[in-house]
């Protein structure tokens, strides 16, 4: 079905860029433009929903740069899910950013909002891509567009972080992912995402392992160890960037690509029970465990959240490598569930920074009494990370465990349980300290501490909204579930 709507969804944030730049002198108008663009983009994506849910696949071809290689959009359920999350949370994050950027007196705010819009456009482009080449284009665009956001502060630390960020993401994508894409083209004669995959009968055995590994490691944005270090490095960015891009858009494009390539390039039948899936499953499991252990030891709140993200991303990769219907549903759902939980947590970290000027976990004793809304939302986010009801994380973990059990992947099951405990071990103490410990005495000395209440209003609204969604998705996951189920076409 030909429709220009998918192209509009990706183009709308881009169209907002000149508007944002032009209104740079009037911050209120500039932010209003950003919010408006977010709303229009979201509505545009939503308007695709009924058709896709009914089984249509709106498509739009942009160009044909090489014979047989198209730059083309096709909206399929998983891409729609990602685009929905990205565009919805863009609005919420803009709301949050208004409070954060002003409260924190950040410079170059116009540049910030402009590149933010470009990043969202790239993420939506990646979500709707119809083949590997289109995906690669937007994947790279996303890396480049987020670079100025990561290095926003312009300090030496930001520069170092930026180098790690760019080095690892570009390094893996050109060195491994592009290689895998050209190889796929050479093997299959196409790079199109097709239900059932395109590599069946074209690759097997060792070649399959190599190719799958090239893809999974090459998608550096999925942060499989040992290519995960860009994510903690990106934490030098302002918090709204960490929240939307490094908890949602960028990393979700990564795991989304993994899932999409697993389902539409390799095909579950080809991967099920193969060495490729098993071996990469171990890598994902190891990443989940090691990243959680590292997170335990981080005192900086944002770094702890970053390692938690590394660990949570591998839930999705693990789901993909289960190569079963339950695994794919669990992985697809986890993209959604983790997004809302983690953005809440990052929002809270930013609110604590703006209101209380605190960045370390050890400084948070008793803060819950001064910022009850923020820390209440933090608790919801933490529950979702651990996977406790009534938070969204429980739903996806349920399906992942179901997938592990039904496929008799006991290693995966063990990892899921172990990581649940580890998550509890690094989140529960924060919540406990915030609500039940008295503020530290020595913090009152000097001018380090001061009387403060909640963060600016727009930030609190955003935080409460995402926290409420996190709970809401536990009770009513059906919209996401129905879309993701289409991926496996009734194989459950």
């Amino acid at each position: 079905m030909v429709s220009s709507l998918p192209a509009w969804c990706a183009a709308l944030p881009l169209l907002a860029v000149p508007l944002i730049l032009g209104l740079g002198r009037w911050p209120n108008l500039r932010e209003a433009a950003s919010l408006l663009a977010g709303a229009v983009t979201f509505l545009c994506v939503v308007s695709l929903w009924p058709e896709v849910a009914a089984g249509a696949r709106p498509a739009w071809q942009i160009a044909e740069p090489l014979p047989g290689v198209h730059i083309e959009f096709v909206v399929e359920p998983l891409g729609l899910v990602l685009a929905l999350i990205a565009s919805f949370l863009w609005m919420v994050t803009t709301l949050y950013a208004i409070g954060y950027m002003r409260g924190h007196n950040e410079s170059n705010q116009t540049r910030f909002y402009a590149f933010f819009a470009v990043s969202i456009a790239s993420a939506i482009g990646a979500a709707f891509s119809a083949n590997l080449v289109t995906l690669f284009i937007f994947y790279e665009a996303l890396t480049l567009a987020t670079f100025p956001l990561v290095t926003h502060a312009g300090t030496d630390e930001a520069k170092r972080g930026g180098r790690t960020y760019l080095g690892l993401l570009i390094g893996t994508s050109i060195g491994l992912l592009l290689f895998a894409i050209v190889w796929t083209w050479q093997l299959a004669g196409t790079t199109e995402f097709r239900p059932g995959g395109i590599l069946a009968g074209k690759a097997s055995g060792g070649l399959l392992v190599v190719l799958y590994a090239l893809f999974l490691f090459g998608i550096g944005k999925a942060a499989l160890m040992p290519f995960h270090r860009w994510l903690p490095a990106a934490m030098v960015a302002p918090t709204p960037v960490s929240a939307l891009l490094h908890a949602v858009a960028v990393v979700k494009v990564g795991v989304f690509s993994v899932l999409k390539i697993t389902v539409y390039i390799f095909g579950l039948d080809l991967l099920a029970g193969s060495d490729a899936a098993t071996l990469l499953g171990y890598v994902a499991g190891a990443t989940m465990l090691i990243a959680s252990l590292v997170a335990l030891r981080q005192d900086n709140l944002k770094r702890r959240l970053a390692y938690s993200t590394v660990s949570q991303l591998s839930y999705v990769v693990l789901g993909a490598t289960l190569a079963s219907a339950w695994g794919v549903i669990g992985g697809g759902l986890h993209i959604v569930m983790h997004a809302f939980g983690k953005i809440t947590l990052f929002f809270c970290a930013g609110a604590i920074l703006v209101a209380a000027h605190k960045t370390e976990v050890s400084q948070l004793d008793g803060i819950g009494r001064r910022m009850p809304w923020t820390l209440g939302a933090f608790t919801v986010g933490a529950m979702s990370m651990i996977g406790l009801p009534p938070a969204a994380g429980f739903v996806s973990k349920w399906y992942l465990m179901l997938g592990s059990l039904s496929g008799e992947h006991y290693f995966a099951l063990f990892v899921l349980i172990a990581v649940t405990l580890l998550n509890a071990a690094y989140f529960v103490p924060i919540v406990y300290a915030a609500f039940f410990r008295a503020p530290k005495e020595d913090a009152h000395h000097g001018h380090g501490d001061h009387e403060h209440g909640e963060a600016p209003l727009t930030m609190v609204i955003a935080i409460v909204l995402t926290a409420a969604m996190t709970v809401g998705l536990f009770f009513y996951p059906d919209p996401a579930l129905e879309l993701v189920q289409q991926l496996v076409g009734g194989r459950t």
């Binding site: 160009a63 740069p65 090489l66 014979p67 730059i71 080449v133 690669f136 284009i137 790279e140 665009a141 480049l144 290095t151 312009g154 520069k159 930026g162 180098r163 760019l166 080095g167 570009i170 390094g171 050109i174 060195g175 592009l178 290689f179 050209v182 190889w183 083209w185 050479q186």
Partner: protein, 490 residues
């Protein structure tokens, strides 16, 4: 002006305009004439490209003398394609030149400068269009001698040694080519390339023919600056006037690659047993060039030098495709011929703009220019991204075909090395980007403004070309794959 005379007009117009430039004496008038000539040659080249039938030739007998006695100009699609590249870069660089030349070169030499540019231009176009091996040598010398003069005009006194170095190496190369042509003439009694191609198969196993081929390949590779025969290039590109660097980087090495293709595939023919080890040798040297030159580029402090070494590396990519001797490989070579010309022209013209404002193009000079010269620096970044091979730029198309050619030949380690070269490019390009955008202007440095629009326009036309031909590849890939099939006789 009838279309059938275009092959000769293509060369004779710039050749005759050169002395006229000298007679005009006024720099601005000479510039106007040179630019007009540049655009005329582009028009002529495009017309030729449009009128060459697929797989066919346009032949033009010089002075009405019939070949093989007279000199014959032959235009097939390869010729027309390279003519378009050379003429397009020439026209854009000449359009840009006026302000930059006024800043970098003494007033009294302006007319002579444009005369030398036109001579060099005419020589390069002549090499491409001629069908006569000796005539090719003559044009090669015309372009080489004028380029030695052009390089020596650089402001830095080291330009003189750079030019001298190039003179020695270039003359060595030209002599080798002459010996090769001489040996072929001795063996076959003809200088016409098509005639040569018809007679060389009879010489199978003849040692003199092999020696001729060896002399030719080595001589041409000197002009290409294929590693390890590249030593003249970094200095020449660094110290030459900005305009000259941009012009030579976009044209001279490309034409030399064309000569290699012409001799290897048209004259000697693809089937000759010689080609197999030549192919292996070219692949080995090309890969060494890609890696070594990219590594060296990372450690340079002069940005012109960074991109000069990058040129050596990129030449490696171009030659690599020839080594595969497959349709995909040659397509990669031909596409990259075009693509590399547009990306390097952007980079060197943008650097010329920096020199115009700041006086130098060392990394230290370029600190913080992202704010004061936003349009020039954005163009520099675009050129850099294209060099890396980011999708939606021409660099991506080249890389795609190179990696595909390597995989098709079953040599995946080569594909890996091609991508490693890209990653090295990320490092040296990013050093420049970081300096430009993330370091403050040096204390006490003079405030700089953006360059005038007549310099920005050609730069941004080239940026647009970098993006356009990264998305719509009908002209480049379409033509190149056709030519590749013709060259291989498929």
């Amino acid at each position: 002006m009838s279309a059938e005379n275009l092959p000769i007009l293509q060369v004779i117009v710039p050749l005759l305009a050169a002395p006229v430039c000298l007679l005009l004496r006024n720099g601005t008038l000479a510039w106007a004439l040179a630019t007009a000539v540049g655009w005329f040659t582009l028009y002529a080249a495009l017309t030729l490209l449009g009128s060459v039938p697929e797989g066919g030739l346009i032949r033009y007998d010089l002075g009405g003398w019939e070949p093989p006695w007279g000199i014959e100009y032959i235009v097939d699609r390869l010729d027309a394609y390279v003519l378009v590249i050379v003429a397009a870069i020439g026209a854009l660089v000449l359009t840009y030149a006026r302000a930059s030349v006024a800043r970098e070169i003494q007033r009294s030499q302006h007319a002579a400068f444009y005369a030398a540019m036109l001579l060099c231009f005419a020589g390069l176009l002549g090499i491409v269009i001629t069908g006569d091996a000796f005539n090719l040598f003559v044009f090669l010398e015309i372009s080489s001698l004028s380029s030695y003069a052009l390089i020596s005009l650089g402001r830095d006194r080291r330009a003189l040694t750079a030019s001298y170095q190039y003179l020695i190496m270039g003359t060595l190369g030209a002599t080798f080519i002459l010996i090769g042509v001489g040996l072929l003439y001795m063996l076959t009694g003809t200088l016409n390339m098509l005639d040569l191609a018809a007679r060389i198969p009879e010489l199978e196993g003849n040692r003199t023919a092999i020696a001729a081929a060896a002399f030719l390949v080595v001589g041409i590779c000197l002009k290409i600056a294929l590693f390890p025969l590249h030593l003249w290039l970094p200095d020449a590109y660094t110290y030459a006037p900005s305009v000259v660097t941009a012009f030579l980087a976009g044209t001279a090495t490309k034409v030399a690659v064309y000569v290699l293709l012409r001799f290897l595939f048209t004259v000697f023919g693809f089937d000759a047993p010689l080609n197999e080890w030549v192919g292996t040798l070219l692949i080995a040297l090309a890969l060494a060039g890609v890696l070594v030159a990219s590594l060296v580029a990372i450690f340079q402090d002069d940005v012109k030098r960074i991109f000069a070494y990058s040129s050596v590396a990129q030449i490696g990519y171009i030659v690599l495709g020839i080594g595969f001797a497959s349709v995909t490989g040659l397509t990669a070579t031909l596409v990259h011929l075009f693509n590399h010309a547009v990306m390097k022209a952007v980079l060197f013209l943008a650097l010329g703009a920096v020199v115009y404002r700041v006086g130098g193009a060392r990394l230290a000079d370029m600190r913080g220019l992202g704010r004061s010269m936003p349009l020039t620096m954005a163009a520099l970044v675009a050129g850099g991204l294209s060099l890396i091979g980011v999708p939606l730029t021409v660099g991506f198309i080249s890389k795609w075909y190179l990696v595909l050619a390597a995989l098709e030949a079953g040599w995946w380690p080569i594909a890996v090395l091609v991508l490693v070269g890209s990653l090295l490019a990320v490092i040296y390009v990013w050093r420049v980007v970081e300096t430009v955008y993330m370091q403050p202007r040096a204390a006490g440095a003079t405030e700089v403004k953006e360059v005038p629009w007549h310099m920005l326009l050609p730069i941004w036309v080239l940026v647009a070309a970098n993006v356009w031909f990264g998305i719509d590849t009908d002209l480049t890939v379409g033509t190149a794959s056709g030519i590749a099939a013709e060259l291989l006789g498929k």
